[in-house]
Symmetry: C2
């Protein structure tokens, strides 16, 4: 019998969230291929994807990428992956629609094998049989994945919650999950995002009721913002608009894109004639329109942020208009969101927003503690690998698992590249394989690395001072006055004295070092770097990057 | 009768938090002189203080700075202010102790008039009479300030909460406040930090009970982190250590400093022999010690963060040690705090922390909605200026005031420099005076401005490319190959082709422009900047800063 290996690849965090790999004998199956958004540490980077060197080396084993759902952190890396290896991609209809948008942008649509699957599909990928089960989440058409090998059954939940009264779709297939569990699950990979939150998520349906309530109260224009991909919530906005006889305007590129894909594929039912163009806004009474827009996370360039500062050409928020946040800030976005709220209040709008994670017009798409315990109880896995969360969430998930009967030592909290190997029914964590992240910056993929980021960080905090000296190549004498240019250090006009002092120092040092020797350039550069660093630190307590250039003529 | 003016100065935000000014006839009284910490927008800046140009122009009118309490955002700007103008500073004993620490560091102690006041002090500052009232907050010895002018009474609350069972001090003097209100308050300046939070803060005392509970449960070493200045909480940690027979070690510079000032001045009662040096840690059993440390906000260089990564020489966190966060993350610090928690869990520690604003071993020091309404009801002001908060908090405070009878139009939400003028008992907002912020970076005060920050931002996102060309001053011909140096843009070894292309372009352009004319340097610089920008954007979709340097020899 072959050995079964399961591991995560890539992502900036130490703990994988965006790609899982199962390897069994000669077959590799990949689950999800997401991207990560940059943070304060990845200055100027646009996107973070996986280093897939290991997969490239084992390319002939790869049977395909199985996609659990259509969120960016699960599909955003696909175009970059396909540029390196052409493998088939398996996904449900909406997920596939969103992947196609990406592939079109990257001109990969024609060369890629896209395979439509659904909850009852059955795939044979080499020696691995694959089945699926339906889950609920904050986007339609989500799947959990069941991988059947001779070594045992591995289940990957994807992102999930349980919603017994979902919008426009069936509830999570709890009976099928029970059946999978009854037949025996060797290893469960289950998401952990909300492992710190007690209880059970309320149904998405109650948000619809709250939205409708607000629509009924509003006397003027309504602006409402949510994630474009939360198609269920968009449907509830459509329903509220229909009930209150308002036309609907879509603002923001991703809102227009996703709504059109979802409506085309039948995931969104919009009454004929309800959607109008933003140009028509001026012809309608304020009480006749609602505007559904991007920007629920306070993204500076999104529609809502621009509306809040009066920088959106075709629409304007006036006093007593209503603005609804049908969303909750993702950790890290709080400051941007509150700034948008402040600006909206300054315009005199009636703003409905939450002040914490639990309030406002929002329910989470991720399982809370009781839901995680429900999943564990249904699946009754021998081993658990808590995935998709920060360390304290995985840790909490482990404690929840222990509470419902999974022994502590059967729970594996793994870092990227750590490999869980199962042989003869026994799992153990073995040495890790190569793993890492790749930065996408503009057109560059991987050309921004740790050295470039370290420089960007230094430049961002202290700026740069460029010192150009021209010397005679024969005797090392200064040919002209040194050029000293600073950017991001001090404003030169305010610091003339300091710059003069620096200039004097440079002249003195170069003169001191004057010599006909050949490698004088290097000596001068080193000396200038050291002495100017000392002077500037003494005078300013700052350490800008010093870039000495010596020209020999 | 003179006109009464009230306004805020400086701070980075549009809305003042750190300094208020009252001007009446020939007298100016300043309330607080705080500093603000930098954020993501103020790259590399250490501290933000007020632009006090207006006060400097009116220096002869200034009667002094009245300080409400000893937090950084109320005293941090004092040394910088005193460097510009020598005016007396009035504060209570603990506040004065903390100010003295700062003045000593800045060598201003000998030249400054420090005046000790208490809640029953009465000052005559020119034509302005000043009295005080005791408040509760998260640091001892806080005052509200009452300014009596012929135009009417102005009350500044400082930061406050109501705690009827405080630790080591009296409760807020609610009877005196009622008396002030009964005699008539023209204008109330009241803080708004928690105006969005319903209810009434629990007493600090319950935190003591929770800390004691955790101390009793712990079987090994205990590490506990809180703000050093929260002397009441430190007292409760001391009490818990005493009850459980643990010695106490202090880690972190501000913890050691503040505890020693507070103990010296009698605000903190520490049993003889309880405090031990960190060197003694190794000689004691784990169950015999507790460590009180800085770092509750996840500050990377603070004691707790270093302990969490095993980078603290004299102390070590072992599996099953207990770590208590007696604090709550300040908005913006969440990511740093959770990273420290993750690291502590990785060490196997039992970590007690809150997952939201309301949980964990913490109560806020700022009045919640019912407390704000209590203050308003006690003071019954004709006019309200909500202060110390972001716009939505001031907005909410206005709504609370309306609910308890202050007319909407009598509430003034003001930006920095906006002036509220009261004449003949009527207040109105008049044109603003000059206001602004000053950045402190290293030793530089004000030499980092918007141009430097703009450059730092650009450098941080895209890096810099320096192009040095040397030309013959007579005919403009290239003397040697151009030098091209990049930092924070691409890693040169990975981008050799691009750099070669750039070099060729530079040579071509300089050769094209070859001419004996005099101002050729400027023309070449402009052309190189434009054409290289185009090339790099085309090839990389990035726009690094381009710095062309032309040397004529």
């Amino acid at each position: 019998m072959s050995t079964l290996s399961v591991f995560a690849l890539g992502g900036l965090d130490e703990i994988g969230k965006n790609m899982y790999v199962l390897e069994y004998g000669n077959d590799i199956v990949i689950i999800d291929c997401g991207s990560k958004f940059p943070n304060e540490q990845t200055l100027g980077v646009d996107l973070i994807i996986q280093d897939v060197a290991y997969l490239k080396e084992n390319q002939e084993k790869i049977r395909g990428i199985l996609v659990t759902h259509g969120h960016e952190d699960h599909i955003g890396g696909i175009p970059y992956f396909l540029q390196q290896m052409n493998v088939p991609v398996y996904a449900t209809r909406l997920t596939l629609g969103l992947i196609q948008l990406k592939l079109k942008e990257h001109r990969l649509l024609r060369t890629t094998d896209l395979v439509l699957i659904h909850e009852d599909s059955h795939l044979s990928l080499g020696s691995i049989e694959v089945t699926f089960f339906k889950t609920n989440h904050s986007i339609p058409d989500c799947l959990g994945i069941v991988l059947h090998t001779k070594e045992g059954v591995v289940v990957h939940t994807g992102d999930f919650k349980f919603d017994f009264t979902p919008i426009n779709e069936d509830y999570a297939d709890i009976r099928k999950m029970a059946e999978i569990g009854s037949k025996g699950v060797l290893l469960l990979l289950s998401e952990s995002t909300n492992a710190e939150r007690p209880g059970f998520n309320p149904s998405e349906r109650i948000i619809g009721e709250q939205i409708e309530e607000e629509f009924k109260k509003a006397k003027q224009k309504i602006f409402i913002s949510t994630f474009a991909s939360n198609v269920h919530r968009v449907q509830q906005v459509v329903n509220a608009a229909a009930k209150t006889n308002r036309k609907l305007v879509l603002l923001g590129r991703s809102m227009v894109n996703v709504v059109s894909v979802a409506a085309e594929l039948g995931y969104l039912m919009i009454p004929e004639g309800m959607l109008i163009d933003k140009k028509e806004l001026q012809h309608l009474e304020p009480a006749e329109v609602a505007v559904l827009c991007t920007g629920s996370q306070g993204e500076p360039m999104a529609a809502l942020s621009r509306l809040a500062t009066g920088n959106f050409r075709q629409a304007e928020i006036l006093p007593n208009d209503t603005v609804l946040f049908a969303s909750s800030p993702i950790p890290g976005n709080e400051k941007n969101v509150t700034e948008v709220i402040d600006n909206l209040l300054r315009l005199g709008a009636n703003v409905v927003y939450g002040s914490g994670r639990d309030t406002g017009l929002h329910v989470s798409g991720h399982a809370c503690q009781e839901e995680l315990k429900l999943m564990l109880t249904l699946m009754k896995p021998k081993y658990l690998m808590p995935i998709h969360g920060e360390f304290r969430m995985l840790h909490k998930h482990r404690m929840l698992a222990e509470a419902v009967g999974v022994p502590f030592e059967n729970v594996f909290i793994m870092k990227n590249g750590d490999v869980l190997e199962v042989a003869d029914g026994e799992a153990r964590q073995i040495k890790s394989i190569h793993s890492g992240h790749v930065f996408v910056d503009g057109l560059g993929i991987g050309d921004v690395g740790s050295i470039v980021l370290r420089d960007r960080k230094l430049l961002s905090e202290e700026g740069i001072v460029v010192i150009v000296v021209t010397i005679n190549e024969r005797n090392g004498a200064l040919v002209s006055n040194p050029d000293i240019i600073s950017r991001g250090f001090v404003y030169r006009r305010d610091a003339e004295a300091l710059m003069n002092e620096l200039q004097t120092l440079v002249i003195d040092k170069v003169t001191e070092l004057q010599s006909p020797s050949r490698n004088q350039g290097r000596v001068i550069r080193q000396t200038l770097k050291k002495t100017t660093e000392q002077l500037l630190y003494l005078e300013t307590k700052r350490r800008p990057m010093i870039l000495p250039v010596v020209i020999e003529v």
